[in-house]
């Protein structure tokens, strides 16, 4: 992700940053992956894979993990209640757009009727979640890491319970439904048939796929830019050594607050789309286990590396939504093949879908103990030692100092 500073012709060679040899190979892999993902809905139709409906929530969860990665991976703050912000985003969007929400009694006909538009509601969801993040973060971010984790855990427990208990507004455990749908060219997502330019189309859930994809792409784009900015470097500094970071002029509280707030706002957009896609949201979708699964995605792939997080997300989500079921089926079949009734029964009692949390738990313990940096670590440790320059070259000669001096500090007096 390192963008080399531009070399101006005639400048001294020291401005050049050596190119990363891995970059070219990564580019090619990325291009192939992008092409596949963009074409996926058509491939799915063509080959009859029927996994589109699994892919949409999968991609939403991965986007969610990318948002959490800002908090956990970049700023090094353990957030165990991330699902709460997700819930806040989803409920915010539902509040604006659902005919069952208390706002539906107030907004229509008022000057604020435009807020009921899905796209507006989605932006509101982003803002509300980001604000919630700042609100929780402001008093708590001076706390030490493990204490902060518990505050977020407490917050993550309180939010769904409040949603459950505040039934008159939130509809409690029954949940909110229906929820306003996104639309484009006068065509509502997920409603068939749909007429665009006089053509009647049956698109099914394909529009949601692309919406998710676009939001995911924007997120990746934004996160990379943030990571390579002044703020992104400050996050990394705070994560690595808070005291040294302060010594470098970084305000730890505002830096963390940005991480918390931006991380939360990503979950706002995701929550809004998730609600619209499912057309119903209820508090049990946003419990502690959701937070831990998203955390697991971040940690498995490689904390702090967005490609790692996407890989981790892909692995966990495809296990959760596709393979757990199929693997269980295979195990049951393998049990039946033995012909022995007791073995068959033993194999049949095995259900990966029921033990998904066991798998995630094992995953967390094993990663932390065996490969804490995740599958794709943020940065590789070097095997061989770096060598210094020969002694006589180490002391800067006068000319360099003068060349350097006009750049960094010399103040006019």
């Amino acid at each position: 992700m390192q963008t080399a500073p531009r070399m101006t012709p005639g400048r001294r060679a020291y401005v050049e940053v050596p190119a990363d040899p891995q970059q070219t190979r990564n580019r090619i892999l990325q291009a192939i992956a992008v092409a596949f993902i963009v074409a996926y809905p058509f491939l799915d139709l063509l080959f009859g894979w029927q996994a589109l409906l699994a892919f949409i929530p999968m991609m939403l969860m991965i986007t969610l993990a990318l948002g959490l990665n800002i908090v956990v991976g970049y700023a090094g703050l353990l957030d165990l209640g991330y699902a709460a912000f997700y819930a806040i985003g989803a409920y915010a969007a539902a509040f604006f757009t659902s005919p069952n929400s208390p706002l539906a009694r107030v907004l229509p006909g008022s000057p604020f009727a435009w807020m009921q538009d899905f796209w507006v509601a989605m932006i509101m969801a982003v803002l509300v979640s980001g604000f919630a993040g700042a609100l929780l973060g402001a008093p708590t971010l001076r706390l030490r890491g493990d204490y902060l984790a518990l505050v977020t855990l407490g917050f993550g427990e309180i939010v769904p319970r409040l949603i459950k208990n505040l039934e008159p507004w939130t509809k409690g455990v029954k949940g909110m439904n229906p929820i306003g749908r996104p639309y484009l060219f006068g065509c509502q997502f997920g409603v068939d048939p749909c007429e665009i330019l006089g053509m009647k189309l049956k698109l099914g859930m394909i529009p949601y796929y692309y919406l998710t994809l676009v939001i995911g792409a924007i997120s990746i784009f934004a996160i990379i830019r943030l990571r390579n900015s002044r703020l992104g470097r400050a996050w990394a500094a705070i994560r690595d050594d808070e005291i040294a970071a302060q010594g470098m002029g970084i305000n730890p509280v505002t830096t963390k607050l940005w991480a918390f707030s931006l991380g939360a706002s990503f979950s706002g957009a995701t929550g809004a789309i998730f609600g619209a896609y499912l057309q119903t949201i209820s508090p049990d979708q946003f419990e502690y286990s959701t937070s831990v699964i998203v955390l697991c995605m971040v940690i498995l792939g490689g904390t702090g590396n967005i490609w790692g997080v996407m890989l981790g997300g892909l692995l966990i989500q495809s296990f959760d939504r596709i393979f757990a079921e199929r693997l269980t089926g295979w195990i049951h079949k393998a049990g039946a093949l033995t012909g022995d009734p007791t073995i068959t029964a033993a194999f049949n009692s095995f259900d990966l879908l029921k033990s998904r949390l066991l798998v995630f738990g094992l995953c967390l313990v094993l990663i932390m103990n065996l490969r804490p940096q995740g599958i794709l670590p943020n940065r590789k440790r070097r095997e061989t030692a770096l060598t210094d320059l020969p002694e006589e070259d180490l002391v800067p000669e006068e000319s360099v100092l003068i060349a350097g001096a006009d750049v960094p500090t010399e103040k006019p007096r």
Partner: protein, 275 residues
């Protein structure tokens, strides 16, 4: 920055600085000054309060009493990051680099308080932000070249051997454009050749950037070869101050380092026995 208008050219002016930890007085009403472009050493036996003094100047500790005036303004109540922004850069006794970040990123972090782009400018990559980033990277590379680490700009800082890490820390501190550089044992753990190079580097940095340098050192070769003034702390109190030569001859200092000069009776008896 208003040095020429200022009547004095004192950059750091400390009066009565005191730090108590419970019953222990780590630093006991120390008065202390550093002038522009001056290299000053703070020495003293282990536990004399040198690092505590540093941490108070850098804002890591709140002084129990006394005040620190930097460039004519009191630093009282400022957080460490605000003090860095005012123009005090520092290194740490036990190197504290951002080990997962590249060398260049480490230096760029050092520039934090001199850069302005906020998150939204970075998200949109506004022209002003791009210009600032490019300039910062060029400055960063220049600083890395200064400490002779530019060829490892993209390496993770944690991969550097010890001596090079010390140099990187120096470049990172310089990146904040300090007017006063606090160096906490810059040659600790270095071999004699590395030490000589570090002395030369510090002196040349001072000459080129016009910074004042305040360093804590144990190595007397460094202290005597580099500093223009030396202050000696013992049990939190200032016991001597002056040029390296003055301090070397000072009785209090010799006593603090070598123990009391008068001999104990049994030593005298032993001496008598040999003669």
């Amino acid at each position: 920055m208003t040095a020429s208008n200022d009547s004095s050219d004192v950059v750091l002016d400390v009066t009565g600085l005191t730090k108590r930890f419970g019953g222990l007085i780590a630093v006991d009403s120390v008065d202390f000054q550093v002038r522009r472009r001056q290299i000053v050493s703070l020495i003293g036996p282990n536990g004399a309060g040198k690092t505590t003094f540093f941490n108070m100047v850098a804002g890591q500790y709140e002084p129990s009493a006394g005040r620190v005036i930097f460039n004519g303004k009191a630093l009282h109540g400022l957080r460490p990051h605000q003090i860095t922004a005012r123009g005090i850069g520092r290194t740490f006794q036990n190197i504290r680099l951002f080990t997962n970040e590249t060398l260049l990123e480490n230096v760029l972090v050092g520039m934090h308080s001199r850069l302005k782009s906020g998150p939204f400018a970075s998200l949109l990559r506004l022209p002003s932000q791009r210009r600032e980033e490019n300039e910062a990277r060029e400055k960063g590379m220049a600083l890395l070249h200064l400490v002779r680490l530019d060829r490892y700009a993209n390496e993770a800082a944690g991969n550097l051997p010890y001596g090079m890490q010390r140099r990187l820390e120096m470049a990172r501190a310089l990146a904040s454009e300090p007017q006063l550089l606090l160096l906490d044992e810059p040659t600790a753990g270095m071999n004699p050749q590395e030490t000589v190079n570090m002395i030369a580097l510090i002196r040349r940095v001072r000459d080129a950037f016009g910074v004042a340098v305040l360093l804590i050192e144990h190595d007397m070769q460094v202290v005597m070869g580099l500093s223009e003034r030396v202050t000696v702390l013992n049990y939190g109190q200032k016991i001597a101050e002056g040029t390296p030569l003055d301090v070397q001859r000072n009785d209090n200092v010799i006593e603090a380092y070598l123990g009391r000069r008068h001999k104990r009776p049994e030593d005298e008896a032993a001496d008598g026995g040999t003669h």
